[in-house]
């Protein structure tokens, strides 16, 4: 069993929360911890998002290159496996794909002055799932 970034968590379909597929905003979740990713993916799938997954920045870039339908990036900061951390990924994505809004999630207090790209949002861990869903919906709506 490998981690398939294109996989949509089955709960979204099984539990029938997902709206029509073409209406579900596509969000790319970048998180190195499998358990946290599992839970975040379930939460967002239940809230009507189509969730793509990546364990580190390099995989996230591959997904973005192959999936032009990604509408939102949500990334963790510390990801030892990749070649860059979440802040660097956020800055790179906001340059290469300026139409994709970026959310950075981390357990480290708050970002430094030059960590975040302009317009990106920082969400401290742990977060309330309902607040996360609200933030993501707002962000997608504003970007549309």
């Amino acid at each position: 069993m490998t981690s398939d970034p294109d996989r949509t968590p089955r709960d979204a379909h099984e539990e029938g929360h997902s709206p029509a597929c073409d209406a579900a905003p596509v969000v790319l979740l970048v998180e190195d911890d499998g358990l946290l990713l599992m839970e975040a993916a379930d939460t967002l799938a239940e809230a009507g998002f189509t969730v793509l997954e990546a364990p580190h920045a390099d995989q996230a870039l591959k997904v973005l290159e192959s999936r032009p339908d990604v509408e939102l990036l949500m990334t963790d900061v510390d990801m030892p496996l990749g070649s860059m951390n979440g802040f660097a990924l956020a800055r790179l994505v906001s340059r290469r794909w300026p139409r994709i809004p970026v959310l950075v999630v981390s357990g480290m207090g708050s970002p430094g002055p030059h960590d975040m790209p302009p317009g990106a949002r920082f969400i401290p861990k742990p977060y309330a799932p309902s607040a996360l869903v609200r933030t993501l919906h707002d962000t997608v709506r504003r970007a549309a």
Partner: protein
């Protein structure tokens, strides 16, 4: 009377004249001495006999010696201090620097005397120095902490500036005493860093517990079952923390991790569980993930598998392959015949996804009738990585 010896070789007829000269010289000196004594007696400031004068002279010499000893003591006192002590004029010009102060000065060879003391501090610290000077000039105590030297490895100083009172009781000069507090400063910085690191870990742990709780509730059949499952998982994380803390949160021995997870699941029957493999140390992230995985397997084995019957056995074995990846195998045997679970629960999702996702590699979980088998292989480097 003086230098007449050369004349002694002259004719004896000169002897009388020579005696006469000596007599005259002596008389002249006597009169001079008398005159001098009279003159001295007429001046009231210089009375006393020769003996008195000699006594006074001795007293003066003793006082002088005492003064010199006291000065030498003060000098040794100042030299003994490890603090950098400087005497400043009221305008802040350096007038005197102690031995330790010269040693601490970062401009060796350059004359410090006569320079502006406050200007030696850089950036915002110069303002702090000026404020301290201003306080000392009004008789109060100025105090600040500031670095000097290289920006990479600065020395830190606790500086106190106070007034040196003149005879009239007003500040006459200023005293600047700088104590080296580099070690204390480093310790405080280290402490702040640790607190920050601790806060980060606590937040990550809370996020992990939140995910475990949410996942437990998602797949629970009843509140009671959720409660029991959640408590078991929380205890597994707690045990993993104990193992990690023994290794200063940097690394934990795989055997200790396996033992820590299995202990609550084993009864008193000896020989039901065997673990074997080489000593391998794992990083905190891998320890937490692996602990949760093994806990799920052990819980399942206790409910339906090898640990649910007295004859059942569990073996956990591991090895390094090519020195670069860890292979670990969980093998149950001797339990009741096994059937694959009908629905995919938290445990199997966790096992299939979390390790592979977090560290790369692969996992297989099979349920042949003779007992559940999990095999995992993951790059060792990723599993030994630092922070959780």
């Amino acid at each position: 009377m003086v230098a007449r010896d050369a004349d002694a070789e002259r004719a004896p007829r000169d002897e009388a004249a020579r005696q006469r000269d000596i007599h005259e010289d002596t008389a002249r000196l006597r009169s001079l001495l008398h005159e001098a004594r009279l003159r001295t007696e007429r001046q009231p400031g210089y009375p006393g006999s020769t003996a008195e004068w000699e006594a006074r002279l001795a007293t003066a010499e003793e006082l002088n010696a005492r003064l010199r000893a006291s000065e030498a003591f003060t000098a040794r006192l100042l030299a003994a201090s490890r603090d950098s002590i400087q005497v400043l004029a009221l305008d802040g010009t350096v007038q005197w620097v102690s031995e330790a102060g010269r040693a601490a000065d970062l401009r060796p060879g350059e004359a410090v005397i006569g320079t502006d003391w406050a200007a030696a501090w850089r950036d915002g610290d110069r303002v702090a120095a000026e404020v301290a000077l201003a306080a000392a000039r009004t008789g109060r105590t100025g105090r600040f902490r500031a670095p000097s030297g290289s920006r990479v490895a600065p020395r830190w100083w606790d500086v106190v500036v106070s007034a040196i009172q003149g005879p009239d009781g007003h500040p006459e000069r200023l005293l600047a005493v700088a104590r080296d507090v580099t070690e204390a400063q480093r310790a405080e910085e280290q402490q702040a860093l640790l607190m920050q690191e601790m806060a980060h870990r606590v937040k990550n742990t809370l996020a992990l517990v939140q995910a475990v709780a949410a996942q437990t509730l998602r797949s629970a059949v009843s509140v009671e079952a959720a409660m029991e499952a959640f408590n078991g998982r929380l205890m597994a994380l707690s045990d993993a923390h104990d193992v990690l803390i023994r290794g200063a949160w940097a690394a934990a021995d795989l055997a200790a991790v396996v033992d820590g997870v299995m202990a609550p699941h084993l009864d008193a029957v000896a020989g039901r569980f065997a673990a074997s493999g080489p000593a391998i140390s794992l990083g905190p992230r891998a320890v937490l993930t692996l602990s949760l995985m093994l806990h799920e397997l052990a819980t399942n084995a206790g409910k339906y598998g090898a640990l649910s019957s007295p004859a059942g056995r569990v073996a956990v074995t591991w090895a390094l392959s090519d020195g670069a990846s860890l292979r670990l195998r969980w093998q149950e045997s001797g339990g009741p015949p096994v059937a694959p679970p009908r629905r995919e629960g938290f445990g199997s999702r966790l096992i299939e996804r979390s390790l592979v996702h977090s560290f790369g590699g692969r996992v297989s979980l099979l349920f042949p009738p003779e007992g559940a088998v999990m095999e995992l292989e993951a790059p060792l480097a990723a599993m030994q990585d630092g922070i959780a």
